[in-house]
């Protein structure tokens, strides 16, 4: 076995060991948690880069835990999709960890810091585990580790966050129960939990009612976790009232890992054939996504609270991803637009949340009506926000533009002209709410004329991650347009049997 093939398990195991080390080290120094967490996530991120390189050059990694053969033992499978999502998750976790340094000092009591970082590291462990595993039940376990850590971390802010976290807890528990029921049904008819094995055994049982019910349960369960449109009700409160760094990580890394789990279950376990023949839901997904794109954007316009506005904007953007999933079978693009937006949305929303939380950290500004003159007071943070907002609206060559371009091309190819109109309309709505903020920041003059404003920028550890993401929004957009990662996307599509249109 090559040493590099050990990396998928190391990403999870070292993170777990580090989580408890933080708890022990907390007895000696309260502030050590941040440094241990940062070092671990950096290490994990480097491992994930090696994993991607190995997967692209050599091939899929199959790792048998404990040396037990797959249908009996747990198997970790890392193919191109896993490696791609793993990098997104760990990169955003890394930036959120850097960002947490100063913001957490303000929001969390010093004596709670070790526990906070233990939970933070457990959240990262869970997310990394969700992404590398090739076993249905193991996916459930890791999703539950991540979610439980997430509930506690959201509640760490206290006050209104407690109610938000409780709502999330109830809905998240419902979702995970649905998913567990789905696993139970699949296990009862096939006797296996391994994803690759299920994929082989299921086709003979597609007509079985238990399998069809399992699909519906898994879809709804994971749909709650991803905040797909009608199942999104926990999401705005949770994103709004969570501590800053946690808003960043759950709105990017955690949301993306859940969507990855959904895509994996739909395309890898049940396969496209099953859905086309027995559960024609792609049309429904498209329409749900279209409603989400408009509904989320309209509600975002109605918000004065910036974090809440971004949370509703996230609902709209999950709609974009799901539209990509819904159109995947009827175009030659396959899942490419959806997977693109997985990365793109993580970059943009990470940057926007970082900026929004920096405003709260430095000036205590939740409400956008207080933003007048902020562009001169916090120039770098506002610049990062401006870049990400322009990218969200879709200024070429940003990532938002690339997503919209590919989605429109996909919709045109599928002959679904109505969705082209929906994308344009939703973009128009995005201009309204983002430009409103930008106008207040930069253009609007305070009543009583211009005043002398002192520059009061947020700390460097909060500004730099935001600026990095803002610049990446444009660099990654150019990389997409050049087309370097497109062979990777084609490899994913062909693995799922997508990208070829059956007339």
């Amino acid at each position: 076995m090559l040493p590099i093939e050990q990396f998928p398990v190391l990403v999870v195991a070292i993170s777990l060991l580090s989580a408890i080390t933080i708890l022990l080290a907390g007895g000696i120094s309260k502030k050590s948690g941040f440094f241990i967490s940062l070092a671990t996530i950096t290490f994990q991120f480097i491992l994930s880069l090696f994993i991607l390189r190995h997967v692209l050059t050599v091939g899929t990694i199959h790792y048998w835990l404990g040396g037990w053969r797959p249908p009996w033992g747990i198997e970790y499978v890392v193919d191109v999709l896993n490696a791609y999502v793993l990098i997104i998750v760990l990169f955003l976790s890394l930036l959120a960890a850097i960002y947490s340094k100063r913001s957490v000092e303000q929001e969390i009591e010093a004596r709670k810091l070790p526990t906070f970082y233990t939970l933070f590291q457990l959240l990262v462990t869970g997310l990394a585990g969700v992404v590398v595993t090739g076993d249905m039940f193991n996916l459930y376990v890791f999703l539950e580790i991540a979610s439980l850590a997430g509930y506690a971390l959201i509640a760490a802010a206290g006050g209104r966050a407690l109610r938000a976290s409780y709502n999330y807890l109830i809905l998240g528990a419902l979702g995970i129960c649905f998913y567990l029921l789905a696993i139970g049904f699949l296990y009862s008819v096939t006797g296996t939990l391994n994803m690759a094995d299920l994929r082989v055994l299921l086709p003979a049982l597609y007509a079985n009612k238990a399998v069809q019910t399992a699909f519906v349960f898994a879809f709804i369960g994971l749909g709650i976790k991803c905040a797909i449109f009608p199942l999104h009700t926990w999401q705005p409160d949770a994103y709004t009232y969570a501590p800053s760094a946690i808003s960043v990580i759950i709105s990017t890394a955690m949301a993306k890992a859940s969507i990855y789990a959904l895509i994996r279950v739909i395309f890898s376990v049940f396969t496209v054939d099953f859905i086309i023949l027995f559960a024609p839901i792609f049309k429904i997904i498209c329409w749900m996504a279209a409603i989400a794109m408009i509904f989320g954007s309209i509600l975002a316009i109605a918000q004065f609270d910036l974090k809440r506005m971004l949370a509703y904007s996230s609902i709209a953007n999950v709609g974009y991803i799901m539209l990509g999933v819904g159109l995947s079978t009827s175009t030659t693009f396959g899942l490419t637009p959806a997977l693109m937006h997985l990365l793109n949305h993580a970059l943009m929303k990470g940057c926007l949340f970082m900026a929004a939380c920096a405003f709260i950290y430095k000036a205590g500004l939740w409400d956008i009506r207080g933003f007048v003159g902020l562009g001169r007071k916090m120039p770098y943070t506002c610049f990062a926000f401006l870049l990400a907002a322009l990218s969200m609206i879709g200024l070429p060559p940003s990532v938002g533009f690339v997503t919209k371009l590919y989605l429109i091309l996909a919709a045109l190819e599928a002959g679904e002209y109505i969705f082209v109109a929906v994308i344009f309309f939703s973009t128009l709505l995005m201009i309204v709410y983002f430009w409103h903020v930008v106008e207040l920041m930069y253009i609007r003059v305070e009543e009583g004329g211009e005043k002398e404003i002192r520059v009061a920028e947020a700390p460097m550890s909060m500004v730099i991650p935001g600026l990095v993401l803002a610049v990446l929004c444009f660099i990654v957009g150019i990389i997409w347009l050049i087309g370097t990662p497109l062979p990777m996307m084609e490899a994913i599509n062909s693995g799922f049997g997508l990208g070829v249109v059956v007339p």
Binding site: Q6, L16, L24
Partner: protein, 162 residues
Amino acid sequence: MSAEKKYGRDVVIETIARLMIPFIQLYGLYVMMGTEGAGGGFQGGTIIAASFVLYVTAFGITSGRKKFPESWNAAFKCLGVYLYAGIGLLCIIFSLGVAEYLNYAAVPLSNIIGQADTRALMIADVVEIGIGMTVMAAFVSLFFDLAWKEESVKEEEGGAEE
């Protein structure tokens, strides 16, 4: 006034508890690792945690906390996970990256007592002790969290000193 002082101490309950607790803990250890084969770590840990609950019931919550402070609790929780995850990692290290994580056949003991026995020892005993420790510490800390608030007792202690 705390509940303990109001009701006083009861000789019968204290004596019975003194007699029972060692046996409960021994039984917990037996469930954890007494039989051959995997499993029992969770149940054994729960039984040992139950003995702490009995101790608190008999001797009062303040002396219970003194016997088993929160720092010990955290240490036990971590130690259990270290045992489980650490031995898995040791498998990779001892085999120089050849064996998989948690592949106990790679632990060096297998040269002495054979691969099958090493696996059995690790799965049935060492890992079960790790699970038991973490479960025990988690249950005890849950019990204390539900029963009692740290601040309120500090005040009581302060009052007693006066």
